[in-house]
């Protein structure tokens, strides 16, 4: 297990390195002087020159890369051109809001999946199953921004049931969480259903029943763990995506998270914020995946012990 975890850590670090390098390449590929881009249109030539030296723009590209990595290691992304503060601290201050939204959204997703999944698996391929599975597939395909806007129109404008946006009371979580999570809920519900059906028809469940175990024990001890495997795998990745992919939802609902700050940064040419944001996305996503990988190996011994 230790070897497995260590391997996972090494890979995670490599992925973050690649993400960070991509930031470097992208910013350097933009037209214009990188130092100027970072400081914004209002910067003085002196400030630009100073930053340019700091970034090593007068030196070769590999030196620049070296300086860049050094800065990243010091968590220094420069100051935001919009707010004048260190970009990373601005972004980090927004992380809790995004985490909350991701958390609430994931909870909803899990509830839907664990209710619908077993329900549909009870009588697989029945009329109900086919109807609901089809509906789930359809819903999954709806565009997120469209759903968000429809929800706003109906629930806020017309029915005046929910607050219009921003993060305030518990009711303000509802629409963004739904808009963010509904495609994941559909996928996970179908996956759960398939997982349940597979397990219920498996040879080892048959053996468990043949041993004379009570149906309850069969479900709890034999079905549960094996059903979790595909759910943890996919659910884990989804969680990463919920955290990192909420840019549009946050913007629609004026949610003060890192997604909103990324979009604003792009619109306002605030490259420091953009770099810091992407970095936080990458680290967050990789961290979640790492946890999921470890959890996955814990649940399925075949992964950590290797096939013999």
């Amino acid at each position: 297990m230790i070897a497995y975890v260590l391997r996972r850590i090494v890979f995670s670090v490599i992925v973050i390195l690649v993400a960070v390098s991509t930031i470097f390449i992208v910013v350097r590929s933009l037209p214009g002087n990188p130092a100027q881009l970072l400081l914004g249109p209002d910067a003085t030539p002196a400030a630009i020159a100073r930053l340019a030296r700091q970034m090593g723009l007068d030196r070769g590209i590999f030196v620049q890369y070296g300086y860049f990595l050094r800065d990243v290691l010091h968590l220094d992304f420069g100051n935001s051109s919009q707010f004048g503060q260190p970009a990373l601290s601005i972004v980090m201050a927004r992380v809790p809001a995004s985490l909350e939204l991701a958390g609430v959204s994931m909870t909803m997703v899990l509830i839907v999946a664990f209710v619908l999944g077993p329900l549909l698996a009870w009588r697989p391929d029945s009329r109900l199953d086919q109807l609901v599975s089809g509906a789930l597939m359809f819903i999954q395909g709806l565009p997120g921004f469209w759903v968000g806007v429809i929800l706003l129109l109906v629930l806020v404008d017309n029915l005046r049931l929910l607050p219009p946006g921003g993060r305030s009371n518990w009711e303000s979580f509802i629409m963004p969480a739904i808009t963010l999570g509904f495609p994941f809920a559909c996928v996970l519900a179908r996956l759960t259903r398939d997982g349940f059906v597979d397990v219920l028809q498996s040879g080892y469940v048959r053996t468990a029943r043949a041993k004379g175990l009570s149906e309850w024990r069969v479900l709890r001890k034999h079905c549960l763990r094996n059903m979790l495997i595909p759910i943890v795998t996919v659910g884990g990745v989804q969680l990463g995506m919920l955290f990192s992919g909420a840019a549009i939802v946050e913007t629609i609902f004026n949610w003060p998270g890192i997604g909103q700050s990324l979009l604003n940064g792009i619109l306002n040419d605030d490259y420091a914020i953009v770099e810091a944001d992407i970095f936080v996305f990458a680290v967050g996503f990789v961290a979640v995946n790492f946890i999921v990988d470890v959890l996955y190996a814990y649940i399925d011994p075949r992964i950590r012990l290797g096939r013999s």
Binding site: I2, A3, Y4, L6, R7, L305, R307
Partner: protein, 341 residues
């Protein structure tokens, strides 16, 4: 595999082949250990003949099949293919050795139609068969393997296991190979279908003169199809020779045990006999027994077996066995008794 100018009776020859694999489950932390699977395997396949390779799970037969095909690299030793076509043949040597795999459900691409699956070799090697002949050749191949031409436009999912194996055979034959390696090609099939496929293989050989290496753990299939047979255990060939000789007078204790393990149809007719059981389990490749690899399960093992690897002893015409107690021209006596199994 290099084609040689000198004509040889053997179409495929393997000399002292060693193959090593990375085994991740052994001692990990970033450096998987290397384990030797084939520990010096030599065999010859004559033109147009069938060599049976008999072995149970964990003996390395699939690894051997892959090496012979060129699908797996070898660490030392040599594998030589001698084409019967002279130099100047257009056909790349790699096509001359084809393989039919065990799993009829896994070896055909489910997203391609049968005609595409069979013709793939021609697509990759356009000089082999001109496009305008494809249709005719496809039809004649389907006839050769006993499938109706309608199946050509179907997908594998529409065919049964036996039918899929026929497609696999057609695919192998499409490029006019000189050797076809059948790696447990009939093991996943029902008894009656198994027999049909074996018959088909025999038919094809009679017609085209192709040579087979028939790998199986099932004694009856090997007996039915093979002219010569080699018995494999833990990465080594322990006995080989003409089928009739090996099966009627086995000289190696493992071969004897393999045969003795087969049940009798009418056990009440012969007196209850002491059947030699094979004791225990197959050792792992990572830790093979010293000297003779079979000694940990052999009822006749003595000191010498642990110290020295057994020599190859000729016990009959072309029939050799690697055992300290095999004597020339005579199968192995068990503790002084004649072999009455």
């Amino acid at each position: 595999m290099a084609p040689e100018a000198i004509a040889s009776d053997n179409v495929l020859e393997a000399h002292n082949v060693h193959v090593v694999v990375r085994d991740r489950s052994q001692r990990s932390f970033l450096r998987p250990r290397e384990v030797e699977i084939l520990a010096g395997v030599s065999l010859n396949l004559g033109r147009g003949e069938t060599l049976g390779l008999l072995g149970e799970s964990g003996c390395g037969k699939t690894t051997l099949a892959r090496s012979l095909c060129g699908l797996m690299p070898i660490q030392s030793g040599s594998i030589t293919f001698t084409s019967s076509l002279g130099r100047g043949s257009q056909r790349p040597p790699v096509l001359a050795v084809q393989m039919v795999f065990q799993d009829p459900f896994g070896s055909l691409n489910p997203r391609r139609r049968i005609r595409e699956i069979i013709a793939e070799g021609w697509e990759i090697n356009p000089r082999l068969v001109p496009r305008h002949s494809w249709e005719d050749r496809l039809h004649s191949l389907m006839r050769d393997v006993g499938l109706p031409a309608e199946h050509l436009h179907r997908f594998p999912a529409a065919l049964s296991g036996g039918e899929r194996q026929r497609v696999a055979i057609a695919r192998a034959l499409a490029v006019d190979p000189e050797v076809v390696i059948c790696d447990e090609a009939v093991s996943a099939l029902d008894a009656s279908v198994k027999a049909q496929i074996i018959e088909l293989l025999a038919e094809v050989q009679a017609r085209t003169g192709v040579a087979y290496i028939f790998i199986s753990h099932d004694t009856s299939s090997v007996r039915r199809l093979s002219d010569r047979v080699a018995v494999m255990y833990l990465g080594k060939i322990v006995e080989s020779g003409p089928s009739s000789s090996v099966f009627s007078s086995p000289a190696h204790p493992y071969t004897m045990a393999l045969l003795a393990a087969i049940p009798r149809l009418r056990p009440w007719r012969s007196r209850a006999e002491q059947r030699r059981l094979v004791a225990g389990e197959v050792p792992s490749f990572a830790n093979p027994p010293s000297g003779c690899r079979y000694r940990t399960r052999c009822w006749m093992a003595k000191e010498i077996c642990a110290q020295f690897e057994p020599p190859e002893v000729e016990v009959g015409d072309g029939h050799v066995a690697a055992c300290h107690f095999a004597t020339a021209q005579q199968p192995v006596p068990a503790n002084g008794d004649t072999v009455a199994l």
